[in-house]
Symmetry: C2
Subunit: 226 residues, 2 copies
């Protein structure tokens, strides 16, 4: 706080882990996953590439911290509602929206199990499942099914957004293109995919995501009453 006097006098802030992570997020949001390089980071922070290593361990460290900086507040803002089920829906939706706004978070979550953001999700989901009056055996399988499902959706959403961005057409246009390709598939070998193509075009991501959560919760409820 009281150090780096010369720099702060000039109105420049000193290089900190927090500034590095913030700039990494800005880079990831604006340039996509390939936009985060130590050289770009150094340029944006007006420093040398090597200086960054004084505050972070490596690129994974930066990526993970950036991911946590999105996930943690998203989870804190969620978990509203009278019943565990309602809270689970708001938690899922909070994550969904956060990943929708920052697709690289979805990619990162799929890459780093056992890290902070991951643990926060497991805990948030698990606490609500615990409050749900389910059999002990269903506690583990239910919570992990929910987490896997959420991460699966996150990963696919992230991939769609990334491919849309890479091709410079955006996610919506990418999905539209995909739907068109599906609709032209051979009806003999791909009857289902072909029949569902139109759904892909008009579907509501958020609603479908919630429907999946409800399906799992209903499955858990069915288990309880048997």
């Amino acid at each position: 706080m009281i150090k780096n006097t010369r720099r702060t006098q000039r109105g420049e802030t000193s290089l900190t882990r927090a500034r590095i992570v913030a700039e990494a997020i800005a880079l990831l949001d604006t340039k996509g996953e390939s936009g985060l390089t130590f050289r770009a980071l150094a340029a944006a922070l007006a420093t040398g590439a090597g200086a960054i290593y004084f505050h972070v361990a490596d690129k994974d460290d930066v990526l993970n911290a950036a991911c946590d900086a999105i996930v943690a507040p998203a989870l804190d803002a969620a978990a509203k509602g009278a019943t565990p089920r309602e809270r689970l829906r708001t938690i899922g939706l909070g994550l969904f929206d956060a990943i929708d706004a920052h697709p690289w978070v979805g990619t990162e979550l799929a890459r780093a199990p056992g890290t902070m953001p991951m643990m926060r999700i497991v805990e948030a989901v698990g606490q609500e499942v615990s409050a749900m009056d389910v059999a002990p055996a269903t506690l583990w399988s239910g919570a992990s099914a929910l987490c896997s499902y959420i991460l699966g959706v996150a990963g696919q959403n992230a991939a769609n957004a990334r491919l849309g961005q890479e091709r410079g057409i955006g996610r919506a246009a990418f999905l539209d293109e995909l739907a068109h390709r599906w609709s032209q598939l051979d009806a003999g070998t791909y009857p289902f995919t072909r029949s569902i193509a139109e759904q892909l075009r008009v579907h509501d991501d958020r609603a479908d995501f919630l429907a999946g959560i409800d399906l799992i919760l209903d499955g858990m409820a069915a288990r309880r009453s048997r």
Copy 2:
């Protein structure tokens, strides 16, 4: 077939897309995802790096073809059973085992939506859901929930295997380490994760995976009867 006479006389096969993909799979299996480079591929195929580009478009093309070469036969071998539910379980398990044997497939599936292996999975799952007497609305949400769940598990499994390999300790040891870390979490802020740590150590991946599928299927069944 009749070309490349000089090479085939010497017992060497000519460079083909199939050979490239086969060697890529071998490299991915033995050296992990970072082991697949065009230089390593060229060395293994006893050719120049540039020659490979005559048969494939780019690295994504190789990765995608390799992924499909694992997924397609895995799906063909699966889909056994009397009821759609049983077939869905064998399909899921077939994929699970294939990804367990080739973790990089899990990573690749999460990276490339709308590609061949992905479409095969959607179709295989969708056909069974279609045969299951569910409401039209549940057809889409059920099939996509199942796919998202399967891909989510695949991604996490792949990440665990990759991290285990990168640290040179294997996946089991990595999970053990993770379980230990979870067991030492603060009971106040991470009560669930802490309480579930022992489960993480002793759990059966395959059984848990199936339990999640059953949960979703039960949820779909519950929907039908209401």
